[in-house]
């Protein structure tokens, strides 16, 4: 339930600039979609919000990403705390090769929760919120790999919910899923947006139009336009945006 204020964000990989002077304010709650052609920097952008780009050697970052007024790249920031408040769901479902239960319980455990009863509650609550509980409640001890792709992705969402984040980032969460599984994830997103600030990267414009309250269009590392989804898709201000959403580019 936090807003994200991005201020003059620039990111380089080696000497190649991936993001250029990004400034935008993502208000709290609701769904904000990031669209744009491949290589436009949308994944780099979303990964800078929970500092996942830190893992990439030779990645340079200038500028500010503020959550509730605090700069995530400030000098005395504990990056694990940042990631605890800002959950992430990845492009391909990436459950741990452990049981369904252990997948969810892992994060609360490493953040210090040891009590079995409390863990059980967290597992059930997270799975319920990810609309997976009814499908897996009888086989929590089975391997997560036995689930279907869509179920695995919902498990990954449940896993992210288990640390009680304020913000959840989705990096093209449906690109490896079939249409039915995609629809379920989209329903879930619509539920989650009342409680969490949701940011989703998608290469699927229809998906952005379906689920997002606001949409940002990135092109060549720059933020071209950011507006309410209906406005951006119906009356874009920028010519590039119009070209992209009408399919004449990208």
């Amino acid at each position: 339930m936090s807003s994200i204020v991005v201020n003059d964000l620039n990111i380089w990989f080696d000497d190649k600039q991936a993001l250029r002077d990004i400034s935008m304010t993502i208000p709290e709650k609701g769904i904000t979609a990031i669209i744009g052609p491949s290589g436009c920097g949308k994944s780099t952008f979303i990964r800078s919000i929970n500092r996942m780009n830190d893992l990439i050697p030779n990645c340079w970052i200038k500028g500010k990403v503020m959550v509730d007024g605090k700069d995530l790249y400030g000098p005395d920031v504990d990056v694990t705390e940042v990631r605890k408040r800002i959950g992430m769901v990845f492009q391909r479902p990436n459950p741990f090769p452990k049981s369904i239960y252990e997948n969810i319980a892992y994060a609360p455990r490493i953040h210090g929760i040891k009590d079995r009863k409390q863990l059980n509650e967290i597992v059930e609550r997270s799975l319920r919120r990810a609309a997976l509980w009814d499908e897996v409640k009888d086989r929590l001890d089975r391997s997560a790999y036995e689930l279907s792709g869509g179920q695995q992705q919902r498990l990954c969402i449940a896993r992210a919910l288990a640390i009680e984040p304020d913000i959840i980032l989705f990096d093209e969460p449906c690109s490896a899923l079939d249409p039915i599984a995609t629809a379920r994830i989209e329903d879930l997103l619509s539920d989650l947006k009342n409680e969490y600030t949701v940011v989703i990267v998608t290469h699927n414009m229809q998906q952005a139009a379906r689920v997002a309250d606001r949409t940002a269009f990135f092109y060549m590392g720059e933020l071209v336009e950011f507006d309410d989804t209906s406005k951006l898709f119906e009356r874009p201000d920028n010519e590039l945006t119009e070209k992209y959403i009408t399919g004449r580019m990208g």
């Binding site: 893992l55 050697p57 694990t80 990845f90 090769p97 490493i110 992210a160």
Partner: protein, 286 residues
């Protein structure tokens, strides 16, 4: 145009390949059957449970077998933590660049150092400088160093095989790098690491030169009583019986018997490694 048709050539090549493959299998079968045939007269339980007697001319191989098992234990205790932690450092913490290139070179060259050179190192370092004397510990540590590069390269491969997506999943949940390594990378890499460890140990079990210089005894009437006493070991025992006894020089079954036991030990360990790898491979499929 060739004098043979394409099909005929195909058959000729495949026959050739099959023969080469067959040769390899045949070699192992020949070694094993030769050992078994040669050792038949001494093969019974007492061969394993009795110490050698009469300056290696009679009796069994209990003392050298115990020595080799002790050596393996020391190698395990030394090479596993050092090797695994080194490979964790190299694959997870070391920055890419010329230093990692340098490390890679050191380790791959270390694997190519002749075992007698390790023996000399052990003699100078453990026996002499550190003052362990000619002992189980000095030999075990020397073999441990010899086993290190094998453990390290196997562990690095196993660690590198853990997909990035799993590490990212853990990091994105607010885990520290070490928590990610401890809870995910190491457990998933364990089968590969274990395989490397077992291979390294079976290699060390068969080495003669390093222990010859650092503590293996030609003949002992008693078991080693501490880490600092000398010991007998199977590879050196084979050498000793084969070259220093009249019977041995005439092809005594005792030589073959000892060799067969050593072979069984090493092949058994390799089989165990294969089974472990197979079982875990099914568990962690990405």
């Amino acid at each position: 145009m060739s004098i043979f048709s394409r099909n005929a050539r195909e058959r000729i090549y495949f026959t050739m390949f099959r023969l080469c493959g067959g040769l390899v299998v045949l070699t192992l079968l020949m070694i094993v059957s030769y050992m078994i045939a040669g050792s038949l007269p001494v093969l019974d339980l007492s061969f394993l449970t009795e110490p050698p007697r009469g300056a290696n001319t009679r009796g069994g191989i209990l003392t050298p077998m115990i020595g080799t098992i002790h050596l393996m234990a020391i190698v395990f205790v030394f090479a596993v933590p050092v090797g695994v932690l080194t490979s964790v450092y190299l694959s997870e913490y070391q920055r890419k660049g010329w230093t990692s290139w340098f490390w890679n070179m050191i380790i791959s060259n270390l694997a190519g150092v002749p075992s007698i050179v390790y023996g000399l190192l052990g003699l100078a370092l453990f026996v002499g400088f550190i003052g362990l004397g000619r002992s189980l510990l000095a030999s075990g540590l020397t073999l441990g160093i010899l086993a290190l590069p094998i453990v390290i390269s196997a562990s690095r491969e196993a660690i590198a095989a853990v997909p990035r997506s799993v590490r990212e999943a853990s990091i994105a949940l607010g885990a520290t790098k070490w928590q990610t390594i401890w809870h995910h990378v190491l457990p998933y890499a364990l089968p590969g690491i274990l395989t490397g460890v077992i291979l390294a140990m079976s290699r060390a079990a068969g080495e003669t030169a390093p222990i010859l210089l650092t503590g293996a005894a030609f003949y002992m009437s008693s078991m080693p009583d501490s880490l600092f006493s000398q010991f007998m070991a199977l590879p050196y025992h084979i050498y000793a019986v084969a070259t220093q006894t009249m019977a041995g020089m005439n092809g005594s079954p005792m030589v073959y018997g000892s060799a067969l036991v050593l072979l069984a030990l090493v092949i058994g360990m390799n089989l165990f490694a294969i089974i472990v790898r197979k079982r875990y491979q099914e568990r962690y499929r990405w």
